[in-house]
C-alpha cells in the first residue's frame, strides 16, 4: 500500500497542529513539581491569570476577571443561554446559520420554559435578512444570539450593527465566536456583544478541553456550578464575584497552560496568520469553483475566505461518500455532513446529506491546498 501524506483541512472542528509552544507548555504543567500551583490564589496568578489577561486583550475587555474558563464553546453557550434566566414567554432571536450549541439550548428553553424562539433566515443577497431581524426586534426580545461566522459556509456576519439594534431593543447579545476567535478580531465592545463564547482548540490552536465565555459588566448569569474555589472557604455560599461566581473545582491547568501559550503565539503572529488563512481560503474557494460538477456553497457576497472555511458538494455524489474517498484514498482530512448546523442546509440547498467542508489554517501551505483541489477534481471526474 503506498504511503500517503496527509493534508489536514478540518480546522473548523479542531485546529491542528496546536500553536508552537502549546505542547511544551502542557507538558511542563504535567511534569513540573506542582507545589507552587495548587488551587489557590497563586494559581490564578499563573497560567489562568496569564490566559485571562491575554484573552481580555484579545477581546478589548478592560477586566480580565469577566472571562471564565469552560471546556469548550458548547459549554460557554449553554452557561450563557441557560444562565440568563429568561422569563417564560420571553423572546429569543437567532438565525438559521447557528450551531446546535445554540439551537439546542434555545429549544430546551422553549420546551421547558415556554421561551419563544424566532429564527431569522437569509435575504436574496445571502446576508442575514435584516428586515426580518428588525421586525423581530420590534417584539422586544430578551436575547439575541448570532454567530460571528458560519461553521458551514465561513461567511462572516456583520454583527456589530445588528447587536447595536438588539441592545437598543432591550436584548442581551450573545456572540458565538467559535469560528473567528484567533482568525478575525473579536472586539466585544465594538461589536456590542454582552457575551462572547468560543473554544481554545479551533482558530486559537490551543488544546481541546479549553473554552471561554466573556461576560460584560452588568450582565449576571445564574451560577450553574458551585463548590470548591480554593479561596473564601469560610463562606457557606459560593462567592459571587467574577470569575469565581461561574467557576468551581480544580481548573484544567494543563489545558490553560496550553491556551496561554497559544494566545501568546497569536499575539505575536496572529496578524500574519489571519492573512494567510484568508489567502488560503480564497485559493480553496476559487480553485473548487473552477471544477465542473462541483458546487461551492458560498452565499452571494460572502467574505468566507477570511475564516478558511469552504463548503461544497460534488454533483451526483453523497457528501459522506465523497469525504470517505478524499480521506481514505487521497489523505485529505475533511468533514462532511451537517456540521451540527442543521437549519442552514435547507437555506443553501445542501439538504439532506449536507456538505463537504474544507477548513484551512495558517499552518497549511499553498501546495496542500492545490493537492486538495486536485483530489476533488479527480474524484468529481471519476466518481458519480
Amino acid at each position: 500500500m503506498p504511503a500517503l501524506s496527509m493534508v489536514y483541512l478540518n480546522n473548523a472542528a479542531l485546529g491542528w497542529p496546536t500553536a508552537p509552544g502549546v505542547a511544551e507548555a502542557v507538558q511542563a504543567w504535567l511534569t513540573d513539581p506542582p507545589e507552587e500551583r495548587g488551587r489557590t490564589a497563586a494559581a490564578h496568578e499563573d497560567v489562568a491569570g496569564e490566559a485571562r489577561r491575554r484573552l481580555s486583550k484579545m477581546l478589548g475587555a478592560s477586566d480580565p476577571e469577566r472571562i471564565i474558563f469552560t471546556l469548550n464553546a458548547t459549554q460557554s453557550l449553554n452557561i450563557a443561554i441557560l444562565g440568563l434566566n429568561l422569563p417564560p414567554g420571553s423572546l429569543a432571536i437567532t438565525t438559521v446559520t447557528e450551531h446546535n450549541s445554540v439551537l439546542r439550548p434555545l429549544e430546551r428553553l422553549r420546551a421547558e420554559r415556554g421561551i419563544r424562539v424566532k429564527i431569522v433566515g437569509f435575504d436574496s443577497t445571502g446576508a442575514l435578512d435584516e428586515d426580518e431581524f428588525r421586525k423581530g426586534l420590534s417584539d422586544g426580545p430578551r436575547l439575541v444570539v448570532l454567530n460571528h461566522a458560519s461553521n458551514v459556509t465561513g461567511r462572516v456576519n456583520d454583527v456589530g450593527p445588528l447587536f447595536l439594534a438588539a441592545k437598543a431593543a432591550g436584548a442581551s447579545t450573545l456572540l458565538d465566536a467559535s469560528q473567528t476567535a484567533g482568525l478575525i478580531p473579536v472586539d466585544a465592545a465594538g461589536l456590542h456583544a454582552d457575551l462572547v463564547a468560543f473554544p481554545g482548540h479551533k482558530g486559537l490552536h490551543g488544546p481541546t478541553g479549553t473554552g471561554c465565555l466573556y461576560v460584560a459588566p452588568g450582565i449576571e448569569l445564574d451560577q450553574f456550578i458551585v463548590g470548591g474555589t480554593g479561596t473564601r472557604s469560610d463562606l457557606a455560599r459560593h462567592p459571587e464575584e467574577m470569575p469565581l461566581r461561574l467557576e468551581a473545582g480544580t481548573a484544567n491547568g494543563a489545558g490553560l497552560a496550553g491556551l496561554a501559550a497559544a494566545l501568546g503565539w497569536c499575539e505575536h503572529h496572529g496578524g500574519e496568520a489571519r492573512e494567510e488563512v484568508a489567502r488560503l481560503g480564497d485559493r480553496l474557494r476559487s480553485g473548487l469553483r473552477q471544477i465542473p460538477r462541483v458546487r461551492v456553497f458560498g452565499l452571494a457576497g460572502s467574505q468566507g475566505g477570511a475564516t478558511g472555511v469552504v463548503s461544497f458538494g460534488i454533483e451526483g455524489l453523497d457528501a459522506g461518500q465523497a469525504g470517505y474517498i478524499l480521506r481514505e484514498s487521497f489523505g485529505i482530512v475533511c468533514r462532511t455532513g451537517l456540521h451540527c448546523a442543521p437549519l442552514i442546509h435547507r437555506a443553501i440547498g445542501s439538504s439532506p446529506s449536507g456538505t463537504i467542508r474544507f477548513s484551512a489554517s495558517a499552518f497549511n501551505t499553498s501546495q496542500e491546498i492545490d493537492e486538495a483541489i486536485a483530489a476533488v477534481e479527480q474524484v468529481s471526474r471519476c466518481v458519480s
Binding site: M1, P2, L4, G320, Q321, Y324, I325, E328, S329, F330, G331, T336, G337, L338, H339, C340, G354, Q378, C382, V383
Partner: protein
Amino acid sequence: MRVVESRKLEDCFDGSSVHWYRFDCPWTQAGILELKSLGKIEYFADFPRPFFRLRTDRGMFVQGICGEHTCRVILPREGNHEVRRDWESVFSSREPADKTFD
C-alpha cells in the same frame, strides 16, 4: 478473509445503518473483484490508494481501499438484519487470508 471486528459508526444522522468492518487481511484487487457476485462493483485503480465501492440490489453500499484491512458498509433502512447477515456470511465462507489473498 475473515471478519475480525465490526461496529456501528456514528455520523451526522442517526448512524444506525453505518457499520465499520475490520478483516484479518487487507483487501486485494482480486478479493475486491470477487464481490461482483453481490452487486455492481467499481474499482478506481488510478487513485493514490485504489478505492472500491459496491452497490447491491438490496440497497447495501460498501466502500473500501485496496490494501486496507477495513471497509465501511451502509445498510438499507429496511431489512438490514438479513442484508447484514448475508454480507457477513460471504466472509465466513472465504478462505483464510494466507490461502487466498497473498
